[in-house]
Structures are given as C-alpha cells and as structure tokens.
C-alpha cells in the first residue's frame, strides 16, 4: 500500500510539471511557424513588388531607347529621302521621348544607385534630340548638304552610344539585383521549409509524449484509485466490525444490568417479606408477654425497652431494603432507557421546554423561583429523551437553590453549525470544582445532602444526551450558580443506533 502511494504521489507530482511545459513548447513552436509564414508571405509580396519595379524600370528605359532609335532612323530616312512621312514619324517619336524619360525618372525615384547611373541620361537625350532637331531644321531650310554633314560627323552616333551604354548598364544592374534577390528568396524559402518541417516534427513529438504521459498518469491514477477503494472497503469493514463489537458490548452491559437488577430484587422480596412477618410475630409475642406479666411493672418496663430495640432493628432493615429497592429500580430504569429505540422527529424546543416549565410552575411559585424560557432553536431528535433531559435539569436547578436568594432559572439556546446548544442556568448553590465530574456518576451526589434523591438524575441525563449523539458540560461556582450546557446534533442520525 505504501509503495503504491508513493508512485501515485510522484506521478501526480510529475504530470502537472511536464504537461504544461510540453504544451508551452508546442505553443511556442506553432507561434514561431506562424510568424515565419507571415514573414515569408510578406517577403514574397516584397519580392513581387521588386520584380514589378525592376520590370517597370527596364520597360521605361527600353521605351527611351525605342523612341530615340525610332526618331533617329526616321530623321535619317528624312534627310536621305526628303519624304514627309519620315519627318512626321521623326516628330512623333521625338515627342514621345520626353514622357519616356519622365516615366523612367519616376520609376527610379527610390533607387539611389540607379539615379546615379541615370543622371547623365536626360542630358544626353536632350543633346541627342537637339542634334536631330538641328539636322532636320537644316534640311528644311534647304541646306541639305550641311544636314548630311552633321549626321555624318558622328556626333549623333556618339550621343546615342552614350545613352545606350548608360541604359544597358542600368538594365544589367537591375537584372543582377533581381537575380541576387531571387537567390536570396529561394534560400530563405528553403530555410523556412526546413524550419516548418522541423517544427511539425517537434509538435508531433510533443503530442506523442503528451499522450504517453497522460496515459501513464491515468494508468497510475486508476491503480491508486483501485488501491484507495480497496482500502476504503477494508476500512468500512473494520469500522462495521468495531461498531458491531461495541454494540454487542453495550447490549451485553444492558442485559447484565437488567438481569442483575432482577436477580437482586428477588431476594429483596424475601428479606422484606420475612422481616414483615417477623414484625407481625414480634407483635404477637409481645402481646402475649404483656398478658403474662400481669402486675410485674419492672418486667413490663424491660419488655417495652426490648420491643423498642426490636422495632429499631427492624426499622433499619426495612429502611435499607427500601433504599436498595429504589437503587435497583433506578438501575433498571437506566438499563431500560438504554434499550429504548429513539424515534427522531422535528421538535419545537420552545413548546417542549415551556410545557415542562408549566408543569413545575406551581412548585416554582411556592419556592418563589422565576423560570424564564428564551427562544430556543428547534431540533430533530427523540422527544421523550429530551423531555427527560430538560425535566431533570430544570428540576435540579429548582431543587438546589441558595438559601436567602430568590431563585432564578433560565433556559437559553443557540445554533452552532451542525449543533444546537441549550443551557439551563440557575443562581443556586453551585457545585464545587472537584465535584464537576462526580455529579454525573451513578449514585453520586455533591454538596449538602439536604434534598431527597438517589443520585440518578444527572447520570441518566448524561447517558441520554450521549445516546442522542451529544455531550454535556457544566459551568459552576460554589454559591454563585450552575449552568448545564447540553450540545446536541441538529439532526439526530439514527440508522447506526437504531440497528442496535
């Protein structure tokens, strides 16, 4: 039993530590995975933005080149052929170049590196446009040769070369950056994939461990419960055994008291009977003696003395028998009370105690004793037993008054959790400290023996209170008064005792 207890104990100590920790780790991993996913999505969208931006830049750069080349080839066609469609096309393309440059400038707004590379492009474009415009102007004004010389001079080609170089550099630059980003992105994705897989594996591992731990704990708990149940059942059996033993012992005592009292009574009948017979015989003898004595006064006097001694002895014998009879009756009464089955019912203690107070009202008035009954809490208990208890206590309170002081008896009550406490308080002669226990013993009394009684009442009361499931105490000071305190369960449980 001890070993199982310790294992069960250690299991219950371990599980609350390991389980939440595992759960926490699992949560952290899930959170990290989620964060990584969010970051990845964000990153992907960033990457997409960058690609779009790069394409945008490349596109606008291409557009500059395209327009310039269109303008250049149209310009050259015009100067060679002099046909107006070439001129129109040249003008159209030249006009489109400006916006293309603006759009490119705008697309690289956030890219300092490109801005550096791009800075000379607008200047070169402007110069190129100016060069072309000059040649077309010369041609229009009839200076065909001068215009052709200008084209042949190579200024335009050089400018165009510069622009192309700058733009190709930018183009390549952008592509390299894009490639770099793509590589980085791929690597990040790989890392994230690895992390996700690892995290998932960890979560699976944690889940598995948790399931194992839970199963082990529940197995241990089941075992512990089984053990506990067995122990409880065993305990119940032990308690039932002991209760049965006690009950038997109690019954034995009751039977013993009952039988003994009866067997004691039987010889008493004889003693009393034959003593009375002797008394009758004695009467006859002395009558006959008196008749015989005639005038012998001396002898008559002696006879009277003898008769008196006779009566004295018989008187003592009969007095003792009477006393013994009362004691035996008390024991019988106690033992009979001990055998009586209690019938718990709801009782208004106000009514019960007041009716007792009413029955003693006459005696109280004679002895000038004031009996007060406060409001008392009700109880579920045996009515007859409670009547006996309180009748006895009130009777005692009224019996042992302090001479020269008007008697006062007060009955109080209060509820204390599952118990009710009733107090019978008097201002009587009180009980000395050393007698506080003794007065509860059978045939024992305390103080001045000036009142009739056998010393049964309190023993009886205490036995009753005990059987009702309560207990009795007292507070008392010699010459001041006494308070008997009866504590009883609010609801008497009868199953156990009733079975007895």
């Amino acid at each position: 039993m001890t070993s199982t207890e310790t294992t069960a104990g250690s299991a219950s100590q371990k599980s609350p530590g390991a389980q939440p920790l595992l759960l926490a780790i699992g949560f952290v991993i899930v959170i990290l995975l989620s964060a990584a996913s969010v970051w990845l999505v964000d990153r992907s969208s960033d990457d997409a933005d960058t690609v779009i931006q790069t394409l945008d830049v490349q596109n606008s750069l291409s557009l500059i080149l395209l327009n310039l080349r269109r303008a250049e080839s149209a310009q050259r066609g015009y100067i060679i052929t002099g046909q107006t469609p070439y001129r129109d096309e040249y003008q159209q393309a030249a006009k489109n170049t400006g916006p293309a440059v603006e759009s490119a400038t705008k697309s690289i707004e956030n890219n300092l590196a490109l801005q550096g590379l791009f800075s000379e492009v607008p200047v070169l474009v402007r110069e190129k446009l100016a060069e072309m415009a000059r040649s077309v102007e010369l041609y229009d004004s009839g200076k065909v040769d001068e215009a052709r010389t200008l084209v042949r001079g190579g200024e335009g080609r050089n400018l165009m070369e510069g622009i192309r170089n700058a733009i190709v550099t930018m183009y390549n630059n952008e592509r390299q950056q894009l490639d770099r980003r793509r590589t980085e992105s791929t690597r990040t994705n790989l890392y994230l994939l690895a992390a996700s897989l690892l995290g998932s594996a960890l979560i699976l591992l944690i889940g598995g461990t948790s399931v194992y731990l839970v199963q082990r704990t529940s197995r241990q708990r089941d075992a512990a419960q089984q053990e506990l149940k067995a122990t409880n059942e065993n305990l119940e059996a032990i308690v039932a055994d002991r209760t049965a033993d006690l009950r038997e012992a109690n019954d034995e005592i009751q039977r013993f008291a009952y039988i003994v009292s009866h067997d004691l009574r039987s010889p008493l009948v004889n003693i009393m009977g034959f003593t009375t017979e002797i008394e009758a015989i004695k009467k006859g003898i002395f009558e006959q003696l008196t008749a015989l004595r005639k005038d012998d006064t001396e002898a008559l006097k002696k006879d009277v003395e003898m008769s008196r001694d006779f009566d004295e002895s018989l008187g003592f014998i009969k007095g003792s028998i009477g006393k013994m009879d009362r004691l035996i009756n008390s024991i019988l009464k106690l033992s009979r009370e001990g055998r009586r089955e209690f019938k718990p019912e709801y009782i208004s203690m106000d009514d019960l105690v007041k009716s007792i107070a009413d029955t003693v009202a006459h005696r109280a008035a004679e002895k000038a004793i004031e009996v007060t009954v406060d409001t008392l809490p009700p109880i579920k208990s045996d009515r007859l037993a409670l009547e006996q208890v309180f009748a006895n206590l009130i009777d005692n309170a009224m019996k042992y008054t302090q001479p020269g002081r008007p008697g006062r008896v007060r009955i109080r009550g209060r509820v204390d959790h599952a118990q009710v406490v009733y107090e019978v308080e008097d201002n009587g002669r009180g009980i000395a400290e050393e007698d506080h226990q003794r007065i509860f013993d059978l045939f024992r009394r305390a103080g001045l023996q000036d009142q009739p009684g056998e010393g049964i009442g309190l023993a009886h009361v205490r036995a009753l209170v005990r059987r009702l499931g309560g207990y009795m105490t007292l507070k008392s000071q010699l010459g001041e008064g006494t308070t008997f305190i009866v504590t009883l369960p609010r609801r008497m449980h009868v199953e156990e005792r009733q079975a007895a």
């Binding site: 009952y258 009866h262 067997d263 009574r265 039987s266 010889p267 008493l268 009948v269 004889n270 009393m272 009977g273 034959f274 003593t275 009375t276 017979e277 028998i321 009477g322 009879d325 009979r336």
Partner: protein, 147 residues
C-alpha cells in the same frame, strides 16, 4: 373456585413460594397447592411421562408461574401449556419480579390470563397476593379437555 381445583405453583425461590402460600391461605383459599422449584419437574408433572398432557385430562388446575426459573424461562412453559390441546384452558397467573412492558405484552400474547408483578414492598406484596387469593375463590376453572 371449587375445592378440587389444584393450584400448581412454579416458583424457584422457596421464600417467595412460602410468602405466596401464606398470603393465599390468609385470603381463605384452602385448595391444594403443589409447588415446583424448577421448570423441568413442573413440565414433567403437567405433560406426564408421555409428554402429551393426556395424563391430566379431566382435572381442574390453575398455574401460578414465575418467569425467572433456573433451568428455563417461564415464558417457555407458558407457551407449551397454551399450545397443548389438553392444557390450554388452564388459567395461568404469571407472578414475577419483571415489570418490563415487552415481557408483559409477550406473556399476554402467548395466552397468559393474569400478569402480576411482585412488589418488593411487603405490604403491597401481601395485599396483591391476598387479592389474588380472593380472585381465586370466585373464578371458575374448567376441567382439562377430555380428548
């Protein structure tokens, strides 16, 4: 009660038996009193050697019964008498020290005709027995059934 009615007194205490007899006689009852101080002998007399009670048929009897006997309980005797075909009409007076209510009820349930508690106070005792004697002198006792 006619002269031929026999009083059977089953009482283990000789003193009690003597006191009872004295006081019954004082009431003027002169019937024959047969005392038994234990249950076995009393049963042997009542039920005869064959144990059927047939030996006593045709006789008029009255039983005074104490409950506390050394060899058995008077209740058992009462039960057997009241269950016997020949003896069941014999009036049984339970005369005992027990005044336990359950015991009294039990005796009447079993068919006891009278239940009297012996008082320790001799005046009461003597008075009770004398009254019983007076009672004996007026009651009718049937003869045992002739089966």
């Amino acid at each position: 009660m006619t002269e031929h009615v026999q009083i059977i007194m089953i009482e283990d205490d000789e003193g009690h038996a003597r006191l009872i007899e004295k006081n019954i006689r004082r009431a003027g009852v002169s019937n024959d009193i047969t005392p038994f101080s234990n249950g076995t002998e009393a049963l042997k007399f009542l039920f005869g050697t064959d144990g059927t009670g047939a030996s006593n048929r045709g006789r008029a009897m009255l039983i005074m019964l104490d409950l506390n006997l050394p060899d058995m309980s008077g209740v058992d005797i009462l039960k057997r008498v009241k269950e016997n075909e020949h003896l069941k009409r014999i009036p049984v007076v339970v005369l005992t020290t027990t005044d336990d209510e359950r015991e009294i009820k039990r005796c009447y349930d079993l068919g006891a005709n009278v239940y009297i508690t012996k008082p320790v106070n001799y005046d009461s005792f003597a008075n009770a027995i004398r009254q019983l004697g007076l009672f004996f002198s007026v009651i009718k006792v049937p003869e045992s059934t002739r089966a």
